[in-house]
Structure formats: structure tokens, C-alpha cells
Symmetry: C2
Subunit: 124 residues, 2 copies
């Protein structure tokens, strides 16, 4: 079973990379065949190339990301609530997802699922 510390560290690196707009640092957190479903219910992005394309689009807008409360980790999964502030179409916006990461034994993310709905998006 994966060390919780490894998962906590990966989440912190993820948040830092989003804030830095560091695309390659984000992609490096994922397993080669990892998948991103963001938000859940939309078609997943599978594999490094698709994941890179997805985050490249997200990072085209400057994001300010902050954890809301402690990271929760157990077994091979971590969940965390966070807040994303961005300026889009002339307006400040806030999105507040909970992401769930699943990890392989090497500590790479095999599955990311972002859970949020319209109720979690607001003018900021």
C-alpha cells in the first residue's frame, strides 16, 4: 500500500504546478496511461498526450489555486477540496471542486476525477 506522505506530497506539487502554470510538472505527476475526468461525467483524457493537451487549455488562463482544508489520503487514493480563481471572459470567477486522485505503487496518478457542478461555480 502506498505511503500517505507520498500522496500528500503529490497533491501539494499539483497545486504548486497549477499556480506556476508548469504544464510539464503536472503531466509528470501522472502515470503514462493515467486518465483525467474533469468534471466527472465528461469524456476522460487518457494518456500523457491527452492529459498535456487538456491542461495546456486550462493553463491558457492564469489560475490561482488554493487548498480548502486538509488533504485526505488512504489506501491508494487522495481527496482534496480546493478553490480555483480565474479571470475569464472579462469576469473574475471561482470554481470549488473536490478532486480524487488514485495512485499506482510508484506514486503516479492513474486516475483523477474532479467533482463539481454549476453550484460550485460563481462570480468571484
Amino acid at each position: 500500500m502506498l505511503n500517505n506522505e507520498t500522496m500528500h506530497a503529490a497533491v501539494h506539487r499539483y497545486i504548486a504546478a497549477l499556480n506556476a502554470g508548469d504544464l510539464e510538472a503536472i503531466v509528470a505527476l501522472y502515470a503514462e496511461n493515467g486518465s483525467v475526468e474533469d468534471p466527472i461525467g465528461t469524456p476522460p483524457h487518457q494518456g500523457h498526450a491527452a492529459i498535456r493537451a487538456f491542461y495546456a487549455k486550462s493553463l491558457a488562463i492564469k489560475l490561482e489555486v488554493a487548498l480548502e482544508g486538509p488533504i485526505r489520503a488512504a489506501a491508494n487514493e487522495a481527496a482534496f477540496a480546493f478553490c480555483v480563481r480565474l479571470h475569464w471572459q472579462g469576469q473574475d470567477r471561482v470554481i470549488r471542486p473536490i478532486d480524487v486522485f488514485r495512485f499506482n505503487e510508484a506514486g503516479k496518478i492513474t486516475s483523477m476525477r474532479a467533482i463539481f457542478g454549476p453550484e460550485n461555480m460563481a462570480a468571484g
Copy 2:
């Protein structure tokens, strides 16, 4: 696809039932063949009888439960961070999980997974 409002309401009923120690109200939120994995990595409790036995044990101690931040819902799932305060073995304790509920089309919980580790448990 399930209405987000239905999922939000179910989470609020869940929190209220935990606070009220209302075992049957909790069980009623679950589908007949629903499962509870709390925390993830432990053997799931499947079906109403097993779910009732699990919560009966939890509710043997008076719990004070409060949401931490907004409920997130999308597709057929809801996630929420919360805080559980309890008095156990002569000590006040706090546990801070993130739960993920998956729902069927009837709005009943088919799967509950509680994500928390030792880092999310503290003396309160």
C-alpha cells in the same frame, strides 16, 4: 442523469441523521444493495443489514458532524468534506473525512467511500 439538487439534499439528510443518531434515516438513504467503505481500504459493508450494523456501531457514540465547505455534485456522484467530533476512550477526538456518494437514478446511495487517514484524526 440525476438532479444535483437531489444529491445535495441527500447529503444534508445524511449529516442531520448522523447528528440526530437516527439509524433508520441513514439506512433509508442507501439502495438495498448499497455499499459502505469507511475508510477506503477496509472491507465494504454491503446491503441494508450490513450497513445498519455498521452505523449502529458508529452511533453508539454521540457524534457531532458538520460540513466543511460546499457539497460538490456532478453526474451521479457527490463529494463533501466534513468534520466529526466525538468523545471516545475518555478523550475528545476529531476526524475529518471526505466522503464520496454514488447514487442510482432513484436518488439512493449505491456506494459510499470515506477517504481519510491517520493525518485526519486528532485530539479535539
